[in-house]
C-alpha cells in the first residue's frame, strides 16, 4: 500500500495525516482515499477526476500527475500550491 500524507484541512476531513491506500496510479490512490473518506470527495480531484489546479501531489518528492504510477512503497504528499492571494 502507498502512504498518503495530508495536511489540514484535508487531514481533518480524513481523520488523520497518514493513510495507507491501494492504487496503481495517483488517481486510483486518491479515489481510494475518497472511498474511505467521502467527505474529501471534490477537494483534491474535481468532477472530471483531475487534480485541482492549485493542489500539488508529490510522489516520493517528485511532482506527480493523475496517471503517475504508484507502487506499494511510495509516499504521496498532497500539498496546496504556493499560489493564491
Amino acid at each position: 500500500m502507498a502512504t498518503v500524507m495530508l495536511r489540514a484541512p484535508l487531514s481533518e476531513l480524513c481523520g488523520g495525516r497518514l493513510h495507507n491506500l491501494d492504487g496503481r496510479t495517483v488517481r486510483e490512490v486518491l479515489h481510494a482515499l475518497e472511498r474511505s473518506y467521502p467527505a474529501v470527495a471534490g477537494w483534491i480531484l474535481d468532477e472530471r477526476g483531475r487534480i485541482r489546479e492549485h493542489v500539488n501531489v508529490f510522489v516520493n518528492g517528485e511532482h506527480g500527475e493523475e496517471e503517475t504510477s504508484v507502487v506499494e512503497t511510495d509516499r504521496l504528499q498532497i500539498l496546496p500550491a504556493i499560489t493564491g492571494g
Binding site: A39, R48, R52, T83
Partner: protein, 354 residues
C-alpha cells in the same frame, strides 16, 4: 438592529448595527477564503455561504450560528462524464416551496436543494439546453448570478447568466426559454446584435409587489420589463453611465429602483471619483442622485453585482452596499442619507441584509 452578511475575498463577516453608525463585526468565518455570497434563509433562520477555496474548489456551507460550526453541503458537482468542473457558486436564493433553495454558479449552472440547503442537485433542464454550446462567458466567467422566483407561483422562475442573458421557466425549471428581446448588446458588431444569446446581463431584480416587473442592469444599459421578462425597454437615460453591476428595488414600490453607475466597461469605478447611488421613483422615466454622506471626491470604488441589498420598504427602506475597497455604506432612509457601516474589510463581493 440589522444583521449584514458580507462576503469578501478573505472570508465572511457578520455585522450588526443600524444605519448611521458603524456596525460591529460579530462573527468572521472562512478566514482567507473567498466568500462569494452569504445569506440567511428567512424561513428557517439558517445561514448559507458560498465559499471558494483557491485550492480545494467551491462549496456551500450551512449553519444556524455564523460564529459556530459550519457543515458542508452535498451534491455540488457537475456530471462526472462531462468535461467541465464547477468553478464558483455566485448566488443562493430561497424558492417558493418550503425547504426549496436555488444556487447559481459557473459554468452557467443552476442547482436545487429541497432540504434547506443540506444537499443539492443539478438542474438538468438548463444544463442540457441545446444552445449551451453557444454560451460564452463574461469577464467573471459563465456565471449564473440572478435567480428570481415568482412570489406564490413555484413553477415560474427567471434566471440570468453572463454573458448569455435571461432565461424563463414556467414548469419549475424543467424547460427553459431565453428572453432577451429589446436588449441591445452594444459590445457586438451591428450585424451580430440579432443573436438571441450573448447578452451580458449583470443583475436583475423582480418587484415582489408586481412580479411581472423586472429591473435589469446590463453590461451597457439599464432596462425594465413589465411583462415578466418577455421584453425589455431601455430606461438608462439620465444616468451618468449605463454601466454598473447591481440593481436594487423597493419591495413596497414597484416603481422604485436603485443603481450604482460605474464608468464603462474598462474602468469600472465610480464616475469622477464621486460615489452616488441613483434612484428612480417612476420606473425609470427619471433618475436622481442620492449621495449625502457618501465620499464626494477621490473615491474610485467598484461595487460588484451581489454587493448591494435592502431591508424594509418605503421611506424606511434600508440600503447597503459594499465596495472592493473594503468599505460598506448604509442608508436608513431610502438613500436620502448615508454613513459608513464598515471601512476596512477585505474586498467586498456580496452584501445581504439578513
Amino acid at each position: 438592529m440589522t444583521e449584514l452578511l458580507v462576503g469578501t475575498r478573505k472570508g465572511l463577516f457578520a455585522l450588526d448595527g443600524e444605519p448611521g453608525l458603524p456596525f460591529d463585526v460579530v462573527a468572521r468565518a472562512f478566514e482567507g477564503q473567498s466568500v462569494e455570497y452569504a445569506m440567511r434563509d428567512p424561513r428557517s433562520g439558517r445561514y448559507l455561504a458560498s465559499v471558494t477555496s483557491w485550492f480545494y474548489g467551491p462549496k456551500i456551507w450551512t449553519t444556524d450560528d455564523p460564529a459556530g460550526e459550519w457543515q458542508q453541503a452535498d451534491g455540488l458537482a457537475l456530471p462526472e462524464a462531462e468535461d467541465a468542473s464547477l468553478q464558483r457558486i455566485w448566488v443562493i436564493v430561497p424558492g417558493e416551496v418550503d425547504g426549496l433553495l436555488y444556487a447559481g454558479g459557473d459554468p452557467g449552472v443552476l442547482f436545487e436543494s429541497h432540504d434547506g440547503g443540506s444537499s443539492w442537485e443539478l438542474n438538468r433542464g438548463l444544463w442540457d439546453h441545446p444552445t449551451r454550446p453557444e454560451w460564452s462567458p463574461g469577464n467573471g466567467g459563465l456565471c449564473l448570478h440572478t435567480i428570481a422566483p415568482w412570489p406564490g407561483e413555484p413553477q415560474r422562475l427567471m434566471v440570468a447568466i453572463s454573458a448569455v442573458g435571461v432565461w424563463l421557466s414556467d414548469d419549475g425549471g424543467t424547460s427553459w426559454r431565453h428572453s432577451n428581446t429589446g436588449i441591445v448588446p452594444e459590445y457586438l458588431p451591428d450585424e451580430a446584435r440579432d443573436n438571441p444569446i450573448q447578452h451580458c446581463v449583470h443583475d436583475v431584480r423582480r418587484a415582489p409587489s408586481r412580479p411581472e416587473r423586472l429591473f435589469m442592469q446590463f453590461h451597457g444599459g439599464v432596462y425594465r420589463s413589465d411583462d415578466a421578462g418577455g421584453s425589455w425597454v431601455d430606461i438608462g437615460d439620465g444616468l451618468p453611465s449605463d454601466f454598473g453591476f447591481p440593481v436594487v428595488i423597493d419591495p413596497g414600490d414597484a416603481d422604485s429602483a436603485y443603481v450604482i453607475p460605474l464608468v464603462g466597461a474598462e474602468d469600472r469605478t465610480t464616475p469622477g471619483g464621486k460615489v452616488l447611488v441613483w434612484e428612480t421613483r417612476d420606473a425609470g422615466a427619471t433618475w436622481s442622485p442620492r449621495g449625502t454622506g457618501l465620499p464626494e471626491a477621490d473615491a474610485y470604488l467598484t461595487v460588484l453585482r451581489e454587493a448591494f441589498d435592502s431591508a424594509g420598504s418605503g421611506k424606511a427602506l434600508e440600503l447597503y452596499f459594499g465596495a472592493t475597497s473594503g468599505a460598506v455604506y448604509a442608508s436608513g432612509d431610502a438613500g436620502a442619507s448615508w454613513a459608513s457601516a464598515a471601512m476596512h474589510l477585505p474586498p467586498v463581493y456580496s452584501v445581504r441584509a439578513a
